[in-house]
Symmetry: C2
Subunit: 336 residues, 2 copies
């Protein structure tokens, strides 16, 4: 039975009080440098590990940040949000925080059950990764805890959101297609499903407007139902010469569908999309897409979260992260 290594144990060795040990170990004023060093040395020697539970009890902080993800986003093995979550956890770790991930099951989302990590006071703040049902978010927003939304935002809400600049990237991608001579361009995505898809649609729309083209509702192909479940893609009767797909996976599916129906990509139809995920590189041809600069998004989210924990009043609004277009082989100049 090893003896317990707590601050008292260290204090005893030096005939000082735990107060002094606490100050020394936490680099607070009120200890001589010499004593501080000795105490730190002893802590090392004894293998002292601070008791976070005790600290939390006093400070009401536990140095954990929660990451909440809806189950529907992480159903498939190659789930994009898992890797984002992994990056967040690394970033938190660099700042001496731990990441506590919770997966929100559909029934709990439906019932508006608040996350366990909140109910059990295990976290100092919550990062919501990916859009949730509006009714759920309304409930979530009533809780008094630093919170940020990552990769989506909500129109009616004041919660800070870190999002990629979908609107502008989509505008740029569409302009690039227009410059290639495409006169009729379709959009793939349920534009009422998430803020990302809607913004990508609006950037697309802006480009068309700028080129004096009236968008055609028949050129919008939905890809998922209201609950986010994927549906089959129905190509328009009159085919455009290019599509902007709301994400790589949809572009991937679209290209397969197009090929099945005898279209050559990009010979007959160009396709561009967003996210720079595995789907953009395993596709034939490889897909021109937008890299969302996840690293930057994650860095920003983490930095802001930690600031909010230390100063809950401060707000940051919608923080946009610029995307980078990755040119590949799925789009080309439209021959006249």
């Amino acid at each position: 039975m090893k003896e317990k290594v707590n601050m008292q144990a260290i204090a005893s060795r030096h005939n000082v009080s735990v107060v002094t040990v606490s100050k020394a170990l936490n680099d607070k004023d009120g200890v001589s440098d010499e004593l501080r060093e000795k105490i730190k040395q002893t802590a090392d020697d004894l293998g002292y590990r601070p008791n976070h539970a005790a600290r939390s009890l006093k400070t009401q902080k536990n140095y954990n940040v929660g990451i909440l993800i809806a189950n529907r986003y992480v159903k498939s093995q190659e789930a994009y949000y898992f890797s984002v979550c992994g990056e967040i956890i690394k970033k938190l770790s660099e700042n001496n925080y731990s990441g506590l991930m919770e997966i929100l099951m559909p029934a709990d989302e439906e019932a508006g059950r608040l996350p366990r990590m909140f109910l059990e006071r295990k976290v100092d703040g919550i990062i919501v990764l990916g859009q949730l049902q509006e009714s759920y978010l309304r409930g979530l927003e009533t809780i008094d805890m630093p919170m940020i939304y990552v990769d989506f935002y909500v129109n009616y809400s004041n919660i800070d959101a870190i999002i990629s600049d979908n609107f502008f990237s989509s505008y740029q991608m569409t302009v690039s297609l227009l410059e290639q001579g495409h006169k009729s361009i379709g959009f793939i995505g349920n534009i009422f499903s998430t803020s990302s898809i809607q913004d990508r649609y609006l950037g697309f729309y802006k480009a068309l407007l700028e080129w004096q083209m009236e968008p055609d509702p028949n050129m919008i192909v939905s890809d998922r139902d209201g609950l986010g479940e994927l549906i089959d893609l129905k190509l328009p009767k009159e085919m455009p010469t290019a599509f902007v797909a709301n994400c790589d996976q949809m572009a991937y599916r679209l290209i397969i569908t197009l090929k099945e129906q005898g279209y050559d990509v990009p010979g007959d139809v160009s396709v561009v999309s967003f996210d720079n995920t595995i789907f953009s590189t395993i596709s034939h041809p490889k897909i021109t897409t937008v890299d969302n600069n996840v690293t930057e998004m994650v860095e920003t989210a983490t930095r802001i979260m930690i600031k909010k924990i230390n100063n809950p009043q401060k707000t940051y609004g919608r923080v946009l992260i610029k995307g980078t277009i990755i040119k590949r082989d799925s789009d080309k100049t439209k021959k006249a």
Copy 2:
């Protein structure tokens, strides 16, 4: 400023002590059913959330389980271990535990720095997901905390391990190739890299032995260096008619290499592999593989971890999870 909702607040409303509230809320003996119900009702009404830090301080348990993953396993977006981790977290959640994920960076692994979640006493036990350096594991094994290895084991160690029955699945896969008439079969993988790869090799070996075939060292193609970094696949000079690849990703790469060199798959060369990941379905042809039954693995790991937390003495040894062969299009009968 909302008033604090702690046990004392609930106690005051009923003119009882916090002891009684504690007993009532934790379903312990020593409270009348009537009072217990009233107290629970009040807790609900006030939105009481138990303070885990206080509880932890007394009980030395915090109802968190750590999941440790090496960074190299989660570098790519489609990282298999992320989805395993997600499943573990869901399972833990069903048992009122939270999952705390930590990504072990190469420098920390090299230096043998123990995981922060351990040093900071944030977890009751640690699940190590995927093999780590031997020197690191030796250090890890000195710490006094329930620990299990998932998806790998270590020869010299007594840590409980939950692993898929790689040996037997590989044996079965190889036998199936032999039954298809293949007389020369290669193996793709660095057989000194992880226990999984080695066991898959040994199952392969067993099948060959059973069919009276001496394994040929030239037929073993390494896929990664000692640090787990992928290397180019060098095909044997004398080609076999089939390969057993140690995982889908390698099979995927192998098929591309084979095609580049003019081989038809499965016409000239059959390929089978393991894991049933996205690589097995995006490949052309789709790859015959083994599903590791992750759900069962995760359930078992979680159940055992919780048991170990409550009874640290008990050991479980190596627990094998049976795989399921998924027959697809990458292997076929060898014509005589």
